[in-house]
C-alpha cells in the first residue's frame, strides 16, 4: 500500500500556501494564540515531522524522544547561561549535541532490530533521565534557571515556524534523494536492502541524526520559553507520548500527517483544557481507532475523501 499524496506540484503549492497562512497568523491573532497555542502547535509539528522521518519512512520506531529534546534543552541552557551564546547559535549547537549523542549510541542501537530497537530507545531516555536526576553537574534534580530574556511571542512563533518549514522541506528533499529511497527500502525489507548493496547502517544513521538534531533544536527553544528546566520535564516520556500520538493520528509516512496531527491534537487539548486527563484519554482512544481504521491517519482520510469526491465528479461527467 502506498501512502496517499496529492500530485507533487499540488503538494508543493499547498505546503507553500500553508506556510504563508501560518506566517500571517501573528498579524491578526493575540499574544496567547501566537506565543502559546500556535507556538506549541509548531513545536509539536516539527517534533512529529522529525519522528516521522525515522518511523514513518524508515520503519524505525524510536520511543526515546525525551533523550534528544532533553539534551537540546540542557545544551541550549548551558550555552546561553554560561558561554553567553545568543539564542539561535545556542539552539543549533544544542541540536548538534543531540545529533552527536545519536551518533554515539548508534553502533549499539542499530545492532538491534524491530522490537528490540523500540525497547532500547525507550530505556535509553529513561536511563538518561535518572542520571540527570542524580548527577549534580547540571543542577541535579533542581535543574537550571535561564536568565536570558525569552524572545517575544511573535519572535518565538516565527522561530518555530522556520524550524517546521525547514524540517518539512528537508524531508521533502530527502525523500527524492538516494537517502530517502534507501530509507524506504530498509523499512520495507532491511535484509533485501542490504543484499542489494545499500548502506543500511549509514542510511539509518543519517535519518537518526537528523531526527535528533531537530528534536534538540526544539528542546532548546522550549527551554528558552520555559526559563527553567529540570530532568523530570526535559527527559520526560510525555514527549514521546505526544509526538507519537500526533504523528500517527495525523498520518505516519506522509509529509502532511505530522502537521495536520499537531493542529488537531493541540486544538483538541485546547478545547478540553480544563480536563487534561479526559483529553489525553480521548486522544488515546482516537489513536487506537486511527490505527485500526485509517492507517494513514487524518491526512489519509482527507485524501481518500477528496479522491472519492473527484471520482464521483468524473463519473457523473461521463454519465
Amino acid at each position: 500500500m502506498t501512502p496517499p499524496s496529492p500530485s507533487q506540484a499540488l503538494g508543493g503549492s499547498l505546503l507553500a500556501a500553508a506556510a504563508v497562512a501560518a506566517a500571517l497568523v501573528p498579524s491578526f491573532a493575540g499574544d496567547y494564540v501566537v506565543g502559546n497555542l500556535g507556538f506549541r502547535m509548531l513545536e509539536y509539528a516539527a517534533l512529529a515531522q522529525a519522528w516521522n522521518l525515522l518511523a514513518g519512512y524508515g520503519g524505525l520506531v524510536a520511543l526515546g524522544s525525551g533523550a534528544f529534546i532533553g539534551i537540546g534543552m540542557y545544551g541550549t541552557a548551558k550555552l546561553t547561561l554560561g558561554a553567553g551564546f545568543p539564542l539561535i547559535p545556542a539552539l543549533l549547537v544544542g541540536g548538534a549535541l543531540a545529533a552527536l549523542f545519536a551518533l554515539i549510541v548508534s553502533p549499539a542501537l542499530f545492532r538491534l532490530r524491530g522490537l528490540y530497537f523500540v525497547i532500547a530507545t525507550l530505556v535509553l531516555a529513561e536511563a538518561l533521565q535518572i542520571w540527570m536526576f542524580n548527577w549534580n553537574g547540571l543542577g541535579g534534580s533542581d535543574g537550571l534557571f535561564m536568565t536570558n530574556a525569552a524572545p517575544s511571542p511573535s519572535e518565538r512563533y516565527y522561530l518555530a515556524l522556520a524550524i517546521v518549514a525547514a524540517t518539512t522541506l528537508l524531508l521533502a528533499i530527502i525523500l527524492r534523494t538516494r537517502l530517502g529511497i534507501s530509507l524506504r527500502a530498509i523499512r520495507d525489507n532491511e535484509d533485501a536492502a542490504a543484499q542489494m548493496g545499500l548502506w543500511t547502517f549509514r542510511t539509518k544513521l543519517w535519518a537518526f541524526m537528523i531526527m535528533a538534531f531537530v528534536m534538540g533544536v526544539i528542546g532548546g527553544l522550549q527551554a528558552d520559553y520555559l526559563g527553567k528546566i529540570e530532568p523530570g520535564g526535559a527527559f520526560s516520556l510525555q514527549w514521546t507520548v505526544d509526538i507519537v500520538t500526533i504523528a500517527i493520528i495525523g498520518g505516519m509516512g506522509t509529509l502532511w500527517g505530522p502537521l495536520v496531527g499537531s493542529l488537531f491534537v493541540i486544538w483538541l487539548g485546547e478545547r478540553l483544557a480544563n480536563h487534561p486527563e479526559t483529553h489525553v484519554a480521548i486522544t488515546g482512544a482516537i489513536l487506537i481507532l486511527v490505527i485500526r481504521f485509517a492507517p494513514y491517519g487524518i491526512w489519509g482520510l482527507l485524501i481518500r475523501l477528496k479522491d472519492e469526491a473527484s471520482g464521483r465528479r468524473r463519473r457523473s461527467r461521463l454519465a
Binding site: 520506531v61 549499539a108 532500547a120 530505556v123 536526576f133 489525553v280 488515546g284 489513536l287
Partner: protein, 294 residues
C-alpha cells in the same frame, strides 16, 4: 575505593535475590506476550496497576486481604483481557508489528488517565502485616514481602511451564509461538491461543501489581517504571524463555541491590544500574542469556 562491609554486601545479595523474585513476577506476563505474540505490550505497566487498584478497592469495601483478593482479581482480569485482546489486537495481527504495538501504547495512555480521573494522582499502598514485617535469615533482616514474592516467582514460573508443556491449550500456544502460519494451517486456533496468552499475561501482571502495591506503593503513573524493569528482565533472560525470565529477574535484583550498596553509588542510581546492565547486555548479546537462536 570504598567497599561496603561484608554484612552489608551479604544483605544486599540476599535481599536483591528475593527482590529479583518480585521483578520476575512483574515481568512474567510481558515475557509471555513478547515470546508468543512477538508483541511489546506497552500497557503491561498499567495492567500491573489494575491489579493494585483492584486490590485496594476490594480491601476498602470488603476488608479482603490483598493476597487473598487475588482469588477474585485474577479470574476477573483474565475474563476482561481475553475479549479485549480478541477485539482490539486480534484484527491487527498480520498487519506488521507497529499497529498492535501502537494500540497497546494507546491503551496505556487511556488507562493512566482513567486511573487519575477515578482514583486521583495520590500515592497509595496496600496494607497488610506481612507488607512491613521482616524475617531473620542467618543474621540478615529480610522484608517478608520480598520472600513471599520470591515464592510467587517460583510457583508462577513452574505453573506456566507445566501449563505450556502438559496441556492442550499450552501446546497450541507453543505452536503459535513457533510459527503462527504453519500452526494455523495445521488446525491450531491461533487467534484463541493469542487471546489466552494475552489474558494470562494480564493476569500475571495483576498479581505482580498486588505484590508491588504491598512492597512499594503505587500511583497512576508508576506503570512505566515497572514496564521498563520488565523489559530489562525479559531482555536479560532472552526472548521467549521462561527460565530466562526467572534468571533475568533474579540477576537484575542482585545487580541493583549490590550496586546500590556501594557507598559512592547510592540508592538513587538503583534503577540506573539496572538499565545500564540491560543496555550493555542488549548491545553485547541481543538474544539475552537464554534466548533462542535464529
Amino acid at each position: 575505593m570504598d567497599w561496603p562491609s561484608g554484612h552489608a554486601l551479604a544483605t544486599a545479595l540476599v535481599t536483591g535475590l528475593l527482590l529479583g523474585g518480585l521483578f520476575t513476577v512483574t515481568a512474567l506476563g510481558l515475557s509471555l506476550v513478547f515470546g508468543v505474540m512477538r508483541l511489546i505490550n506497552l500497557v503491561h505497566g498499567e495492567l500491573l496497576l489494575v491489579g493494585a487498584f483492584f486490590a485496594f478497592e476490594l480491601g476498602l469495601h470488603t476488608g479482603l486481604d490483598p493476597l487473598l483478593s487475588l482469588v477474585v482479581i485474577v479470574p476477573v482480569v483474565f475474563l476482561v483481557a481475553y475479549p479485549a485482546e480478541r477485539i482490539l489486537l486480534g484484527p491487527l495481527i498480520g498487519k506488521g508489528a507497529e499497529a498492535p504495538l501502537m494500540t497497546t501504547f494507546g491503551l496505556s495512555i487511556i488507562l493512566v488517565n482513567l486511573f487519575v480521573l477515578v482514583f486521583s494522582a495520590d500515592t497509595r499502598s496496600l496494607q497488610a502485616s506481612y507488607a512491613t514485617d521482616s524475617i531473620q535469615l542467618a543474621g540478615i533482616d529480610i522484608p517478608l514481602i520480598y520472600a513471599i514474592s520470591f515464592g510467587f516467582a517460583l510457583a508462577l514460573t513452574a505453573a506456566t511451564h507445566l501449563f505450556l508443556q502438559r496441556t492442550g491449550y499450552g501446546r497450541e500456544i507453543r505452536a503459535a509461538a513457533e510459527d503462527a502460519g504453519a500452526a494455523e494451517v495445521l488446525g491450531v486456533n491461533v487467534a484463541r491461543a493469542y487471546g489466552i496468552t494475552y489474558a494470562l499475561g494480564a493476569s500475571f501482571a495483576a498479581v505482580g501489581g498486588v505484590l508491588v502495591g504491598l512492597a512499594f506503593g503505587f500511583d497512576p503513573s508508576s506503570g512505566t517504571s515497572w514496564l521498563l524493569t520488565g523489559f530489562a528482565v525479559v531482555v536479560l533472560g532472552g526472548l521467549g524463555s521462561l527460565k530466562g525470565t526467572l534468571v533475568g529477574g533474579l540477576l537484575l535484583g542482585v545487580a541493583e541491590s549490590v550496586g546500590a550498596s556501594f557507598p559512592q553509588v547510592g540508592d538513587g542510581y538503583r534503577n540506573f544500574i539496572g538499565f545500564m546492565v540491560f543496555l550493555v547486555i542488549l548491545a553485547v548479546r541481543p538474544r539475552g542469556l537464554y534466548g533462542r537462536t535464529g
